[in-house]
Point group: C2
């Protein structure tokens, strides 16, 4: 890609600089002649020259006369075809108009032998027939609806150049002949007069280079106008329009264009060219002088360079969809926030490899999901549960979701679980494909916990979950203390009872106590706003403890701790914690040992998680 | 997508099941007639019917007669065009053969007025002219080279069906006429005899449905055969071949095909159809009965269903490249492994937001890199350093790398740093684009450290890095101890000296000492194998400590600690550490407080990193 010599510029977009050089490169070009088949068009200034790129998110790069109005002419043919499809349906429109390129000139009266169908909507015969499939509706005339439709694609209200319209109409004899031929073959069902006047006005609609780029971006964006965010073109019709632009959008230069430029495009004798790189961007070029085929001379050259310099050719542009598999790890690397008592912990450390999380990303289509199916097939021998994490999935087509649903039923037959998490907006569609409700989860944490629970029940049996109230001696923090020491503490630690939902510790509160959980379970939360994804930091059960860090560094509490059920804690208040230094230093030392043990294991877990999320070994 | 009723199947691929139903759907079809313009072809069994999908990584899905040999016929035209381009160059080939679709029959003697150029390489005239551009080379005849080229595309040695060849040759009078017309117009420079015999043999090459799918996948895979991993077709020619398949690959059905099926494809009268979804997969269908246009009847129906059921239409297939921006965070969220002394830590906590890491992913092309440029433009007011992390980048075209290089020079003009890390295989190309060597890093850790160092030097001045030897009192672990206690320890902690590169602690060693670093710096490493990316866990400098965790939980050392320069440590051996419990419990307690403080801050850092890598708030 060639770029301009650096200037001490304030702009940091090399793209703007590139467009400047491109514009300068062809500004001197003298080739071609302004269209003169109607007087009005001869008034165009051959020096007008604009280039505009519109990204799929509506950002515009403009250079030159991008706001100069000119008439859309044949470019309208491609878009109005979409409106005809909306009004009469594809079957009907296809029965009246073909989609094969024709070797004949754009204004030839060439109709397919027998049927009398125009070869395609891009030659005048086909375009007039297409306009004939647009219906006057809801008190709106044909032209009113065409105008509204094209305005939707441009993202601003468009108007008709009345002078050009009159000029087209007063000289449109050949098109009138075509109109009557179409009537003769019943391609249109009424006298052609209104259809022809609509067609003449349609061709005389005023657009700018910027409008063409936005229209192109709208086609690139599944019909959604990137500026207004409105669905300007029905998504199903976008592919039809792009197909026609590809096969016959550039008159008898279409084959050359596809070979050399490789972008679906449509040109008009007004000097405009609209080009689209599907899924990526729209291009508008405007320069009135035309070549022998009736395409803008500068337009052809600019698009050829853009395609080459920016690698935009449909078949050169190396955007194969990247693998849908973003990351993969098992339960021993990343577990749920549910902290497990020692026995369960051992089981999960041993068997956790049988729970595997696959993080997906990007756009799910057949060819990106297909390798996921194979990856799961490969591992289905050793894994009991697979979790598909959709958090980084951008879009998913119907096929990919159906494949996942089919995969789930096949795995179920084999007694293997397939869960999905971070399903978000896709939930409804996933259910519609037949995925079981109980297998869809709001976030990975809940899905992981579900798999852990199932695995624990499977390995440890029905009573795996029983959690009787514990004695102080069974608290992990006090592990290894002598009975006498336990007894000593037992007399001094106050017992505190909390009801389900009650807050035991509040973020920002003073770190003035250390809690030993002897009955029930608590959730450590980042904020108070209920149980959203990511909000749940830890779930602790009897035998565990909390509040260690704050009581040592005396920092305010960094999270809420909420009782999930009736809870009993034994509490060591700051006063006692400090008094131990003198009264029972030996006890204080073992306590601190316990605390460091807990911190160390948390630290090791956090490091394991970091490595897993980073995707490093 | 329709799928088969579940059977208690062993296969877990819904795709295989779908292909079964598709095959069953069209097996009964009776339409079409086997080609009979040469006697040999009439011997084909009209019931032969195979479907094969080949993925871009060479996985095959097959159903039916996918290993039945038949002659490639016109499908060879598309591929041989690639060989002609390799032999004579595009300019020369284009000067002899056009790329415009022609309305005429495939075997018409239709040449462009004046030039005598065949309209395109897919009609016989153009195909014969194309074969004429293949050169006998290195002792290999034309047909030997054609055979080798097509074998490379199929990934196995192909052979010629001699009976069909003789049959073609003995009845090829019209083609001979075409050959002499081409000679007459100097489209070929020699008498046509050898070219024609080559052409007849080329059409008689035996392939299977599987071969067609692999050839299609090769075209989908930028010319690299997914099975053999060989570059079978020069990458630059792939787009040319695909363009021609799109504009005129299916005879006079090409427009309909693009509109309805939307896959670059080529058919042959042998009953084969080769179709490609660029960047994704290849399709081969085989069924001898042909329709009026000379395309396999079942083949057309199967491809139409595949395109619809699997959403493969070129313009329907929703694979817009996903955003190249995978993740973004600043230095306060993720820092380098270089642990900073208190003063530097404060600076980085305050100013670290000015260092921003952008993790990129997928395939870098114009439209995926363009938003990155805008994102950086937006943040360039507040950031001093940007790091582009290429670890998850799959491919990058020349344009995207040049844009990044141009961005760097523009940012440099503004005094903003742009660094790249995990450049891996892209390094050479990046340097070629003009990126500065000193801005390319092997991994994110080193790039982060570089930015931190520059920022610290900027904020703290020239001497920011000075690290004089420290006294015990200045060790973070002993913070807050009374002078008397420091003095007490000073008498008892042994001093240990290590040379640069010397190992202080070895993985697996006994946790029998706690080290206070008073001079020099050390690196904590995961393994001994030098300083690879990800291997460096921490770099510690004077005032910091290591070995705390092991001395408490008595676990073996979990990493190596290597001196980066001459190092002095004060060492507390296990014996003393334990003796403190009785001799100086107060001291032991403060020591344990120090250790928990260090563990807590490490834990907080690890949690920050986990959140950042996870992309959660």
């Amino acid at each position: 890609m060639r770029t301009a010599p650096r200037s001490p510029a304030d702009s940091i977009t090399p793209i703007a600089r590139y467009l400047q050089t491109l514009h300068a490169r062809y500004l001197p070009c003298q080739e071609g002649a302004v269209a003169d088949y109607i007087p009005e068009l001869t008034k165009a200034d051959p020096h007008w020259f604009g280039i505009c790129l519109a990204t799929r998110d509506g950002h515009l790069y403009e250079i030159g006369d991008t706001r100069q109005a000119f008439t859309i002419q044949s470019i309208s043919k491609a878009l109005v075809y979409g409106l005809a499809l909306e009004d009469c349906g594809e079957a009907h429109v296809r029965s009246r108009i073909g989609v094969e390129p024709s070797g004949d000139a754009f204004n030839a009266i060439s109709l397919q032998a027998g049927s009398g169908r125009p070869f395609n909507p891009m030659i005048n015969a086909g375009a007039i027939a297409t306009t004939g499939q647009v219906l006057a509706r809801g008190g709106k005339s044909r032209i009113a609806r065409v105008l509204a439709y094209l305005s939707g694609c441009a993202g601003r209200p468009l108007e008709i150049d009345q002078d050009v319209y009159r000029s087209e109409s007063s000289t449109g004899h050949r098109n009138r002949a075509i109109g009557w031929m179409l009537r003769n073959f019943n391609i249109i069902d009424e006298e052609p007069t209104d259809i022809l006047e609509t067609y003449f006005q349609q061709c005389a609609i005023q657009v700018t280079c910027r409008d063409l780029a936005v229209m192109g971006a709208t086609l690139a964006n599944q019909g959604i106008n990137p500026i207004t965010r409105q669905q300007a073109i029905a998504p199903d019709n976008v592919a039809h329009i792009l197909s026609l632009m590809t096969s016959c959008g550039m008159y008898d230069y279409s084959g050359e264009w596809l070979y050399q430029v490789g972008l679906p495009a449509k040109s008009g004798v007004g000097g405009g060219i609209l080009a689209t790189l599907p899924g990526q961007l729209g291009i508008g070029v405007f320069s009135p002088p035309l070549d022998a085929q009736g395409n803008s001379t500068r337009g052809i050259q600019v698009c050829a360079d853009l395609s080459k310099d920016l690698a935009l050719h449909l078949f050169h542009n190396g955007t194969a969809p990247p693998p849908a598999l973003r990351l993969s790890y098992d339960n021993t690397q990343v577990g749920s926030r549910q902290r497990r008592p020692p026995l369960q912990r051992e089981v999960l450390q041993r068997e956790g490899v049988r729970i595997r999380m696959l993080e997906l990303q990007g756009e799910l289509v057949f060819s990106t999901v297909e390798p996921i199916l194979r990856a799961i097939e490969l591992q289905s021998g050793t894994c009991a549960y697979f979790i598909l994490n959709l958090r980084n999935v951008i879009t998913a087509d119907a096929v990919s979701l159906q494949l996942i649903a089919d995969l789930q039923s096949v795995l179920t037959e084999r007694g293997i679980g397939l869960l999905l998490c971070h399903v978000g907006k896709l939930a409804t569609r996933l259910l519609h494909c037949g995925l079981k409700t109980e297998t869809l989860f709001a976030n990975d944490d809940f899905a992981l916990e579900e798999c852990e629970n199932r695995l624990l029940a499977h390995v440890m049996g029905a009573h795996w979950q029983e959690r009787p109230a514990l004695s102080l001696a069974q608290c992990e923090l006090l592990e290894g203390l002598a009975d006498a020491d336990i007894a000593w503490l037992d007399q001094r630690l106050r017992a505190a009872h909390y009801g389900a939902g009650e807050a035991i510790v509040r973020t920002g509160g003073a770190g003035d106590a250390l809690y030993l959980l002897v009955a029930g379970s608590v959730e450590v939360q980042q904020a108070r706003s209920g149980n959203q994804a990511g909000n749940r930091l830890e779930v602790l059960t009897a035998g565990m403890s909390f509040g260690e860090m704050a009581i040592i560094d005396r920092a305010p509490r960094s999270a809420d701790v909420i009782a999930l059920e009736p809870v009993v804690c034994r509490v060591m208040d700051l006063a006692l914690f400090n008094r131990l230094d003198q009264e029972r230093p030996d006890l204080k030392i073992s306590l601190l040992h316990g605390i460091t043990r807990r911190l160390s294991s948390n630290l090791r877990r956090a490091n394991r998680e970091t490595r897993a999320y980073r995707g490093s070994p």
